[in-house]
């Protein structure tokens, strides 16, 4: 069971960065207390040892799992004061 969730906007927008193994600033939701955290992390579509599995969700009509799982290695936990761009901004939706 994944503890953290990630919006699929990141997966769609940063496909090539994920393939290259680039470090991304992302917002994840903690499934234990539903808090949101900002982290710099590397994402992988294939499981790697000791990497954290993330449940990918879609937020259009609810925080719904897409069935996809992606793996994360946290490089840095960002200060709580740092706000990341909106998911809708990332998608140029809003």
């Amino acid at each position: 069971m994944s503890r953290y969730e990630l919006d699929e906007a990141y997966v769609r927008k940063f496909r090539s960065e994920i393939e290259k193994g680039s470090t991304l600033a992302i917002q994840i939701r903690d499934g234990q207390d539903y808090s949101w955290k900002n982290v710099k992390a590397i994402l992988s579509k294939t499981p790697l040892e000791s990497w954290e599995p993330l449940r990918v969700t879609n937020t259009v009509s609810g925080q719904r799992p897409t069935g996809e799982v992606i793996y994360m290695k946290i490089v840095e936990e960002l200060p709580d004061d740092e706000l990341l761009p909106s998911i809708q901004g990332i998608l140029n939706w809003w």
Partner: protein
């Protein structure tokens, strides 16, 4: 009467179920609440929350039964619990006509515990996770207290509040909601932080008036005093100049910085659907939390089986009634229940050609109508808020097709309606409609068609004979005479 005393009163009259068994804040408390609402059951107080040594949850303490949704309001305002809706509504309006200023006291129960700065941790309290699919845990029954930058106006408003991090919340501030107007048109363009306090609990009138949409410039705290016929006791916040209800269960003190946004939502909204997508909204940074020992967090399960819609939306939209009457437009406003949501309706006796346009303009331009999109007008003799069939019949039979009016598409609309396209949601706009089902003012009384009904088509002696003979003729059902059925 604070929230705790109010809950005791509800328990005494069988309107509250106290649950001492441990319940999870994560969906369990809201699932039980959704079920009690479905059954027209009691409000709920959850005394033990999983994972928390302090903090309780109380749900739907205003949500009465479908046919008596105002009963708990009347208990909270020390009115007769058996009062009829029309009397309750009239009494509340009479009280609100005479605002009562609050009194400042040196301290109060909300100051029993204080967390400031780095000690602030919102997750120390059992905020509920209400619907599966929500973006996070939410505060839904609260007063967000803000002050207008250019005047002495202090507003209380209820805006859904997502607990984002241990010291941040996200607010759904509509652009022309009262606090939204203060922020987007006042503080933000001037590059200033908007101080705010969020209070939860306190006197029932305090919670009610946080929901009530008073006209801009009117401070709800004075209306709360009027509603309970006693001034609300207020104390000064620890970290800003705002005053907060002394009897609140929890007070969050913070600020909203200009042009700072964080994604908020989705959330199961009062309209009855999950409202998304997750979208950028103003961020409340919390600097201080003050609270009563073992505080009670009030919440409601919006959107399901009545939820907000049965009672609180009636109170919320009663602001339209208050505002129109204050403007001298002689109408009565109702929240017609239609299944799980409702329909804003207006009745007026006074009429002249074009008057319905005056009413439509007043209703549609009212700021809280940004939550709504359609309304209908009736003659008071034709309308009863308890008669859904009559409501539908009047719309379909009396409203001339040319009296189904649609405005242009550029009216303010909160992005919560399922019919709104993604583009409309982005822009926060929609068309509005209003249906005039009143008889035309130019018709003479004899030109108004007579309704074909038992009460209207038979002389009194035939009606009486029918009722008298009914049982003797072998019918088992009791004859039904409708009050005003001949209209």
């Amino acid at each position: 009467m604070d929230l705790r005393e109010f809950l005791k009163k509800l328990e005494e009259v069988g309107e509250l179920k106290v649950i001492d068994q441990e319940v999870d804040w994560n969906l369990e408390a809201s699932a039980i609440t959704a079920m009690t609402m479905r059954l027209d059951g009691p409000a709920v107080l959850f005394n033990r929350i999983k994972g928390y040594s302090q903090g309780r949850l109380s749900a739907e303490f205003f949500q009465g039964a479908r046919n008596n949704f105002w009963r708990r309001f009347s208990i909270g305002l020390d009115m007769d619990p058996e009062i009829k809706w029309e009397e309750f509504s009239r009494e509340l309006y009479e009280r609100l006509k005479n605002p009562i200023k609050p009194v400042l006291v040196s301290t109060g129960p909300c100051k029993e515990n204080i967390l400031i700065g780095k000690d602030v941790n919102l997750f120390a309290f059992p905020w509920p996770y209400i619907h599966d699919g929500d973006g996070g845990r939410y505060g839904t029954i609260l007063n967000c207290i803000t002050k207008d930058l250019g005047s002495a106006w202090v507003n209380w408003g209820n805006y859904r509040m997502q607990i984002q991090t241990k010291n941040k919340v996200g607010f759904q501030l509509g652009p022309f909601s009262d606090a939204g107007t203060m922020y987007y048109q006042g503080y933000e363009p001037r590059g200033q932080n908007m101080p705010f306090c969020v209070s939860l609990g306190g006197e029932p009138a305090v919670t009610m008036m946080g929901v009530f949409d008073a006209p801009k410039g009117v401070s709800e705290v004075e209306l709360a005093g009027a509603a309970q016929q006693k001034p609300v006791e207020m104390v000064r916040a620890e970290t800003n100049d705002l005053l907060v209800p002394a009897n609140a269960e929890i007070v969050l003190e913070g600020e909203i910085r200009p042009y700072e946004r964080m994604d908020e939502g989705p959330f199961g909204e009062m309209i009855g659907y999950m409202h998304g997508p997750r979208s950028p909204r103003p961020v409340g940074r919390i600097n201080c939390i003050t609270y009563r020992t073992n505080p009670i967090i009030p919440f409601n399960v919006e959107g399901t089986e009545g939820g907000d819609n049965r009672g609180l939306t009636q109170i919320f939209t009663s602001g339209i009634d208050f505002g129109l009457k204050q403007k001298g437009i002689p109408v009565d406003y109702y929240w017609q229940r239609t299944g799980d949501f409702g329909f804003p309706t207006v009745t007026f006796r006074f009429n002249y050609p074009g008057f319905s346009w005056v009413v439509a303009s007043g209703v549609i331009s009212y700021s809280l109508f940004q939550w709504l999109h359609t309304t209908a007008f009736f003659d008071p003799a034709d309308y009863s808020p308890d008669d859904l069939d009559g409501f539908i019949e009047s719309i379909f039979l009396k409203a001339h097709p040319t009296n189904w009016h649609v405005t242009d598409s550029d009216h303010l609309k909160m992005s919560v309606s399922v019919f709104q396209s993604p583009e409309e949601k982005k822009r926060g706009l929609s068309a509005k409609t209003w249906i005039d089902a009143t008889w035309p003012a130019t018709w003479r009384p004899e030109e108004i068609p007579k309704k074909v009904a038992f009460e209207n088509c038979y002389p009194a002696e035939i009606q009486e004979w029918t009722v008298r003979e009914w049982k003797r003729l072998g019918f088992k059902e009791r004859p039904l005479i409708k009050k005003g059925g001949g209209k």
